[in-house]
Symmetry: C2
Subunit: 348 residues, 2 copies
Amino acid sequence: MSSKPMRQQMEEYILDLQDKIVAALENLDPNAPAFKRDSWVRAQGGKGISCVFAMPEALSVDAAAPVSVLEKAGVNISIVHGSLPPAAIKQMRVEHTSIPYDPESTATLPFFAAGISLVIHPRSPHAPTVHANYRYFEITEPNAGEGAQGKVIAWWFGGGCDLTPSYLYEEDAVHFHKTIKDACDPYGPAIYPAFKKWCDEYFYIPHRQESRGIGGIFFDDLCEQKHQRLDDDAVRPRNAEDIFEFVKHAGNAFIPSYIPILERRMSMLSTAEERRWQLIRRGRYVEFNLVYDRGTKFGLATPGARIESILMSLPETARWEYMSEMGTEEGSKEAKLMEVVKKPRQWA
Amino acid sequence: MSSKPMRQQMEEYILDLQDKIVAALENLDPNAPAFKRDSWVRAQGGKGISCVFAMPEALSVDAAAPVSVLEKAGVNISIVHGSLPPAAIKQMRVEHTSIPYDPESTATLPFFAAGISLVIHPRSPHAPTVHANYRYFEITEPNAGEGAQGKVIAWWFGGGCDLTPSYLYEEDAVHFHKTIKDACDPYGPAIYPAFKKWCDEYFYIPHRQESRGIGGIFFDDLCEQKHQRLDDDAVRPRNAEDIFEFVKHAGNAFIPSYIPILERRMSMLSTAEERRWQLIRRGRYVEFNLVYDRGTKFGLATPGARIESILMSLPETARWEYMSEMGTEEGSKEAKLMEVVKKPRQWA
């Protein structure tokens, strides 16, 4: 057990994980340009490192052989702090009753947040898009004085990862879910099923009545208090160190859950029709992120937010067809994907 | 002055305008496939005709010479009726005080709406996207009995049109605005300036701090009552017949405002870089429509709404680059467009 404050432990962890993930992606495609590293500082308090892959000059979208493994990717970390307005405090108090709340008060509370967030859109229509995010949030007592950190009055972890294929390869879906499940299971058998279900519910596009992809896990508000998605008597990590161990286990599962899939799909040739379908599916990704994703909506509504970071999750190219026939032909490869986004399946 | 009910007059007008606009677009490109006409009926009450242009097989996005004038276009009319829930009645009453409102009541009121809505995305990066929409809304007394129509208790017109170029041709912007202004001016000199300003305010993307395009006109709630955007003593159409005449004048100005611009830009050759910029700008179009457009948001949140019609406004292809350098180089053609979307100009 570390004697370092959790915020420092988490910061060190996400810095290291970011390095490892970027290195794993770069190793897959040594001839492609390296990720662009971009450090930034937030005037209101905080810093981050964006690692971004893009080849905007490669516009030849229907090339049968991919010109690079990735089309667009971002692996970002951010470590920020600031003041929570009363409205945000009120909302967070629903899940974190240790936060004092006086409905009459207009006072703010100091917060700290550290997280890693990534979205990877490969070029081949056969290679799935992936998203992952792990974060630690802390609220402290105010008025600790110049430079000093107030006593922690609430903290929690959140995160998850999910896969979005354009074409369904069942062995990929099984591998992805099984790797995540194996990372969760040592922390209690109820963890994976609860967070898998939460993921299916979260990444849902109501107006299309379909999921964004084939899911993974999603969780929030994980702390020592009662949890809305876990039975009181379920085996689960219950203190900060154990929960941090679980989060690290899930975060460390990212590379083994995704890179082998990317490796076996990245060089597959594709047709113009397959590319077309991939871009239609990326249109759905855009719809989910712009219309429903809480993080994106919150970011867009925050004055002074870094729009380029918030919208980095969007694919390089997306496509919308009116009444497209793609995906509607029974027995087609496209319809096979539609089946599992219309009706989430148990993969592990 | 017609003795026909306004709902019938509006229905006849939009049917005719739809035909004329589709014919004008088809005449420009006789070798392209015709628009696909699609009649639909709404189970809850109503009907519509969608006229849609698409060539989904034409994926060669960087072809220097456009394979067709249009890339994606929809010219739709809809004539629907139904029941307004109390929440909608409450909101509409703000601008239409003739609507009875009892805060305790859970009763609905019958409504009727007829409108034409179009979005045209040409293929050439030099040809601007255009959007137009003219609509008539009516609320009637309930309980008029089987098949009978209750007394009209509130009615209004809304609409407008706006231009979204990727490259700015000042003469196009002037022509578009001047044609609309000439259609407005006979109804009072305050009309165009008020509705031009409203358009600039409406089609604004706060998170980008830029307008979707170079504007046009936008108006709503135009009826015999006081209007929020027009001085009480301003010259303006004040009764249903005069307002309908104004709306027809504006609607009829669509073809002369846009077709000549499309004609002079549609065959211009373009580079891969120009196409890339066009797709980045189309990404902004998607951002506005999915995040801010009231009609789209309302549609997506309406159970049973026809998603294909609502999202028909989206371009066939859109593009997102992280920290794109396009548009940032001073003096470039892209920067010239950015100037006018950052700071709306008076064009007429």
